[in-house]
């Protein structure tokens, strides 16, 4: 700990978390006060939030550390692994690579917003049925990319599922099960809509 410089210490949400637990003093308090912040309106899983965010906070940080939505994971924090994937206005993005201020006025869906009225999304059901997750760390991101894919392509081929999920790395290597799960969910949804028609 002694090696951490003050600048690194006050970086990111570290400053916010410290502020709630330790009274800020002297230099650190001034530095934190000087950090530019903005009030934003985010609609997350159907609920409107007005939040005062530091301009540098990523959407992933705000979702996890300030709204308590820890379903989205931070793996790499560099837009490489996909664990933080959420839907922004219906499209899958890396929430670690979006600033929360850029999402002002926009709609966010996280993995917590998939189940409706206590009923799991067909994708979640299929992930359970087909053993999609192994350790589960990448799973919420996989679900959100699958959701985005089915939103604009309800009947994907195997190759389309693979292409749609290339932005989500699974270190357990459970890719084939994830692809099977998504295809199964698409089949369930198709059967459901036939039944309704």
């Amino acid at each position: 700990m002694s090696k951490i410089s003050r600048r690194r210490f006050v970086e990111g949400t570290g400053a916010g978390l410290v502020a709630t637990t330790v009274p800020l003093q002297g230099q650190t308090a001034k530095a934190a006060a000087a950090v530019p912040h903005t009030t934003v309106k985010l609609t997350v899983n159907g609920t409107v939030h007005r939040l005062d965010v530091e301009d540098r906070w990523t959407l992933a940080e705000v979702l996890r550390d300030h709204l308590g939505l820890t379903g989205s994971k931070i793996g790499c924090d560099r837009g490489e692994c996909g664990a933080c994937t959420v839907l922004l206005d219906g499209k899958n993005v890396y929430s670690c690579s979006q600033l929360a201020v850029w999402a002002d006025g926009r709609t966010v869906q996280t993995v917590e917003g998939l189940a409706q009225n206590g009923k799991l999304d067909p994708l979640q059901e299929a992930f359970i049925e087909h053993d999609g997750p192994q350790c589960g760390f990448c799973t919420s991101g996989q679900l959100m990319s699958a959701k985005a894919l089915l939103n604009h392509n309800p009947h994907p081929t195997t190759d389309e599922v693979r292409a749609g999920m290339t932005g989500n790395i699974c270190r357990c290597g459970n890719y084939n099960h994830y692809v099977e799960s998504v295809l199964a969910a698409a089949a369930t949804l198709a059967a459901d809509s036939r039944r309704k028609a």
Binding site: P36, D55, R56, T58, S97, S145
Partner: protein, 324 residues
């Protein structure tokens, strides 16, 4: 992350004015820039957010010419019917970038202006790109570095859309404090021997606002072929953007631009000239591939790019010319 203020630009002029503040940088989708800030490779006090500019994310056609707003996302661009059908090389290049999440966030202008992904630069080595005085790849791990146009830096230009735009003879619209200037795509990119710290001719307070494509000529076909070290997710090891104007079996004119091999999109005027007016046979494609690699100057660990690039040129040319 280091703290900074995010300011939303209202229009291109406003963005340029805001970029005049001390230590301000432009940001589109942020898929490249935020990573650089997190790594302390860029330490801005102000981010000028361009995506807040309205209407700069659209494709419009005027007298056959097509104008593409620089803030269009790569995903939207790759699905645009007018681009897919008449400027296929650009749609395919945009579609080949990274992952769906990158394409949903990343903009065309950001793709063209992204910084090099040389692992020395990205890992904090004080190289030319970081304002230093050496290129660590020359004696180091250079398997993904330049075989053409290198020195004093040996980065490769990372953009997939850049070779496509040069092959299409696009014009770049640049906004600055005096107004606007237009630069042919090929002249937008600059070799390290011109300025080793940068990849293009933009000044700090200039932004790329739009790209103009000339009217597509009849009987023109085009494609982008990208070779990766895996099936998806990353930058090109080698790529080829090819535009052919055909008259039955005969190639009237050709434009061939390589990615992944040089610090700028690498055009092959000599090869283009040898194809003009001839039917593209397997023999001619093989000769073109040989000519394409004349003057290549590989480093210790990237000589494999020479035969790889030859194969890419020969196969892509032949399959495009003979496509039904």
């Amino acid at each position: 992350m280091k703290s900074f203020a995010n300011v939303n630009a209202r229009d291109a002029k406003d963005a340029v004015a805001k970029l005049g503040q001390p230590n301000a940088v432009a940001v589109g989708g942020g898929s490249d820039l935020l990573g650089m800030v997190k790594e302390h490779l860029v330490e801005p006090d102000v981010l000028v957010h361009l995506k807040s500019i309205r209407k700069l994310d659209q494709v419009s056609a005027k007298a056959g010419e097509v104008q593409i707003g620089g803030l269009i996302t790569l995903d939207t661009l790759s699905r645009e019917p007018a681009i897919r059908s008449r400027y296929t090389v650009l749609a395919e290049a945009a579609e080949s970038v990274g992952t769906p999440q990158i394409r949903n966030a990343g903009t065309l202008a950001g793709n063209v202006c992204q910084r090099p992904w040389c692992w020395y630069y990205r890992n904090g080595f004080p190289c030319f790109k970081a304002g230093g005085k050496q290129c660590f790849s020359i004696t180091g791990e250079n398997q993904f570095h330049a075989i053409f146009g290198g020195g004093p830096s040996f980065i490769v230009h990372p953009s997939d859309t850049a070779p496509a735009l040069v092959a299409l003879d696009a014009k770049f619209r640049v906004t600055n404090s005096d107004g606007e200037r237009t630069i042919p795509a090929a002249e937008f990119f600059a070799l390290p021997r011109v300025d080793a710290a940068r990849e293009n001719v933009l000044a700090q307070d200039e932004i790329l606002t739009a790209v103009d494509l000339p009217a597509a000529r009849p009987h023109t076909r085009s494609t982008y072929h990208k070779v990766l070290d895996r099936e998806a997710w990353t930058h090109a090891v080698v790529s080829a953007a090819i535009v052919l104007e055909m008259d039955q079996q005969v190639c009237k004119s050709a434009r061939i631009v390589l990615g992944g091999v040089a610090p700028i999109p690498w055009r092959l005027p000599k090869v283009e000239a040898m194809l003009a007016g001839k039917p593209i046979t397997p023999e001619l494609a093989a000769q073109a591939a040989e000519a394409a690699l004349e003057g290549a100057n590989p480093l210790a660990k990237n000589a494999y790019k020479v035969p790889l690039t030859k194969a890419v040129v020969r196969r892509t040319l032949l399959s495009l010319a003979t496509k039904a």
